[in-house]
């Protein structure tokens, strides 16, 4: 192996710095999944009867489904669902009225992760909902938002305080019977965030949820629901980390977004779950269903994701373009290093007329990682004059990794157009040598090259997140000026 390749390996295999655990007294129910367990979860959360029933319907649907193992390049041992604990909450976290009542250990955990929950200390302009294992521990700036009619709270609270909205919209984009993991999530979801932006309101700050898995032997099943009424706008950010553990943990989240006429929702994720060690031991199975629906005319939903963690990621944030002239976007950077598998992409369902979608996917493979782009662009018969542009680029670092691209395209009318571009490149010795000849050392050269590759996606992230994302790639900020 040449020197530059060694440096590449060192650079991309930097230690996971969020792998610590927080020692805290937990209220955790024993492993296993039955109707009684679901009733217990629902009861612990003080949910109304309709919610319990909905969960049970989802559970019954899940029992009839099979765990998916259909991708040939995508193997994982069957998961023992009876060995997982479906509810874990810090004991002190019940009924927190203000930050003063949050366990200091938890606040410390978030501080360590770089997320300050103290409103005074936080940068103005970002409201945070912090989810620790199964429950939301704090939501900041709630009052400021409420003045505008915006609801931003934990899902549990939404079920209690705004049952009519939850009942109306929950499952309207991702029904509980949608797929195996979505059904499981619907049955056992513990918490998550709820955002509601009323008609004509432009949310004045970024809304953000930070998910942290702490307890062992638990799964994390959060549920996020974002509703933007007519002409509303919101930008939402999601971040996640987990401690370093030897066993695999399941993360099966569901995110639903609904955008009505002229509404716009931007959803950004920086996913940094523990990815397992270099031999592929441990790590999070990140099996997530994310879907948005542009229900009204000229609605717009935009997904931006930076996926650097998790042992296996299986995630296809999609957009149903139902309203005429609606717009769907998907920007993704996915990194697969060591033995990580990142199988991600999107689905754009064009149903309304004159709908448009853009897909930009950047896959970076290193070590023995496997990075797959899998996407569907479907244009229905009546979706006249619709357009899609797809660009899938793969970058390979070293000789043992791989990258695949599986684009599916279905077009059922003659007035629409679909463009697909794809490229594969390798960080070459020549590129690194060129940088070195200009005085830049190997590590900085690789950072620069990787960041340049991902730039098109990073520029869609809110500033604060873009910085974090770039750091995550083990690099200094490229192009901080302009």
């Amino acid at each position: 192996m040449s020197d530059s390749e060694k440096s590449v390996e060192e650079l991309v295999s930097k230690e996971y710095k969020y792998g610590f655990t927080t020692d805290i007294e937990m209220d955790q129910i024993p492993p296993g999944l039955t109707e009684d367990v679901i009733r217990t979860i629902s009861h612990k959360k003080g949910e109304p009867e309709w919610m319990t029933e909905w969960r049970l319907r989802a559970y019954r649907a899940w029992l009839t489904m099979e765990e998916p193992h259909w991708w040939p390049n995508f193997k994982y041992p069957p998961i023992d669902y009876q060995a997982i604990s479906y509810y874990a909450a810090p004991k002190a976290a019940k009924k927190v009225e203000s930050l003063d009542q949050v366990d200091p250990k938890i606040l410390e955990t978030y501080e360590k992760l770089g997320i300050s929950l103290n409103e005074q200390k936080r940068m103005q302009g970002v409201a945070v909902d912090a989810v620790f294992d199964s429950v939301s521990v704090a939501t900041t700036f709630k009052e400021t938002l409420r003045e505008k009619g915006i609801i931003f709270c934990s899902m549990s609270e939404a079920i209690r305080e705004h049952p009519e909205l939850v009942q109306k919209y929950l499952g309207s984009v991702v029904p509980y019977s949608d797929n195996f993991f979505a059904a499981l999530n619907s049955a056992v979801f513990s918490d998550g965030s709820f955002c509601f932006i009323p008609k004509g309101v432009r949310c004045p700050m970024e809304l953000s949820t930070y998910f942290r898995i702490n307890a062992s032997n638990t799964g994390q099943f959060e549920r996020t629901l974002i509703v933007a009424e007519e002409s509303a706008y919101v930008s939402y950010l999601e971040g996640c980390t987990a401690p370093q553990r030897d066993e695999n943990q399941l993360h099966a989240a569901v995110v639903e977004i609904l955008a009505l006429d002229n509404a716009e929702v931007k959803y950004s994720t920086v996913q940094n779950w523990y990815s397992g060690d270099k031999d592929g031991i441990g790590g999070i199975y990140n099996f997530v269903t994310k879907r948005g629906k542009c229900a009204g005319v000229k609605a717009k939903i935009s997904w931006t994701q930076v996926e650097t963690g998790a042992a296996i990621t299986w995630k296809y944030p999609s957009v149903i373009l139902q309203g005429d002239e609606s717009i769907g976007e998907f920007y993704s950077v996915a990194v697969a290093n060591n033995k990580q598998i990142a199988d991600t992409g999107t689905k754009m369902h064009h149903i309304g007329k004159n709908t448009r979608s853009t897909i930009v996917s950047k896959g970076i493979s290193a070590g023995q990682g496997n990075n797959t782009y899998r996407g569907l662009v479907s244009i229905a018969k009546d979706a006249k004059n619709s357009r899609n542009y797809t660009q899938c680029d793969s970058m390979l670092i070293g000789n043992a990794c791989s990258a695949n691209t599986f684009p599916y395209i279905v077009v059922k009318n003659t007035s629409s157009s679909v463009e697909h571009e794809a490229s594969t490149s390798k960080i070459g010795e020549d590129q690194i040598f060129y940088c070195k000849q200009r005085g830049i050392n190997t590590e900085n050269a690789i950072s620069m090259i990787v960041n340049g590759f991902a730039k098109e996606v990073f520029k869609n992230l809110p500033m604060e997140f873009a910085v974090e994302a770039q750091k995550l790639l083990g690099v200094s900020l490229e192009g901080s000026v302009g």
Binding site: D3, F433, Q437, R438, T442, A454, E478, G479
Partner: protein, 252 residues
């Protein structure tokens, strides 16, 4: 400035340079000429420290230091610059970002304060005039989508910004039309001083009409077979390399 003694080097086990001796002093321009495959580019790459080439013998002393012991970026930081024959593309990284990163690394290594963005931009704009480059190049990704001529001009721009002590130009004239050639040569002539030196590797005499060398060396089959003044280039142009190759065989 640089003294190369009995340098042997090759790639993938194949010896290409078979004992090069060359001494270059500050203020001098040396031209290395020779037929295809004679080892001209290999010499340029070895001096710059390309990792694919293996040095099997000889020594190179640069500024009193053992050049061959230095990493490629250390050579750059010490003032060795290579204008690439085939400049490399770096998608998504703007020309100015790239060059600023390089310049500041070099400044840092030499105990100078890094330039901030405004200072750098001012410097860059000044130097861009030298090679008559449009402002838009500042923000375009490094060499991506550049024409052959634009890439070569960009190399000279980089050289102008980094102000090396020893600049090695590897076939900078190839692929250039006459106007671009004049611009590139003009840039080199403006940068030339009594403190720096140039090694100009070229196949054709044409470039040497504009960059007038103090010495011309002819490289054949990994060895310098003939050295002389600038008139040697004209001789070669008239007679071609065949005669010199023949002579080389006889003396070998």
């Amino acid at each position: 400035m640089i003294e190369i003694k009995n340098l042997h080097a090759g790639i993938a086990g194949k010896e290409i340079l078979k004992g090069i001796d060359l001494k270059v002093n500050a203020g001098e321009i040396h031209a290395i000429m020779g037929p295809n495959g004679s080892g001209k580019s290999t010499l340029a790459q070895v001096l710059a420290g390309h990792p694919s080439y293996e040095v099997t013998g000889g020594s190179v002393i640069y500024d009193g230091k053992d050049l061959l012991e230095m990493e490629a970026e250390e050579r750059s930081q010490a003032g060795v610059f290579l204008a690439f024959q085939y400049p490399v593309e770096i998608p998504g990284v703007s020309n100015s970002y790239f060059l600023k990163a390089g310049l500041n690394e070099i400044r840092k290594a030499n105990g100078q304060e890094p330039l901030d963005s405004m200072q750098f931009l001012k410097l860059l704009r000044e130097k861009m005039k030298l090679v008559e480059m449009a402002d838009s190049f500042i923000y375009r990704p490094v060499n991506e989508g550049f024409s052959g001529g634009e890439k070569k001009r960009n190399e000279i721009l980089q050289m102008a910004v980094l102000e090396p002590k020893l600049a090695i130009l590897d076939e900078t004239d190839s692929g250039l039309d006459i106007d671009a050639l004049k611009i590139v040569a003009g840039g080199v002539n403006k940068l030339k001083s009594s403190d720096n030196a140039f090694i100009v590797v070229t196949h054709y005499q044409r470039l040497l009409n504009y960059i007038v060398p103090d010495f011309v060396h002819v490289l054949v089959n990994g060895k310098i077979v003939k050295s002389g003044g600038k008139e040697l280039a004209l001789e070669l142009e008239a007679e071609g390399y065949d005669q010199i190759k023949e002579d080389a065989k006889v003396t070998a």
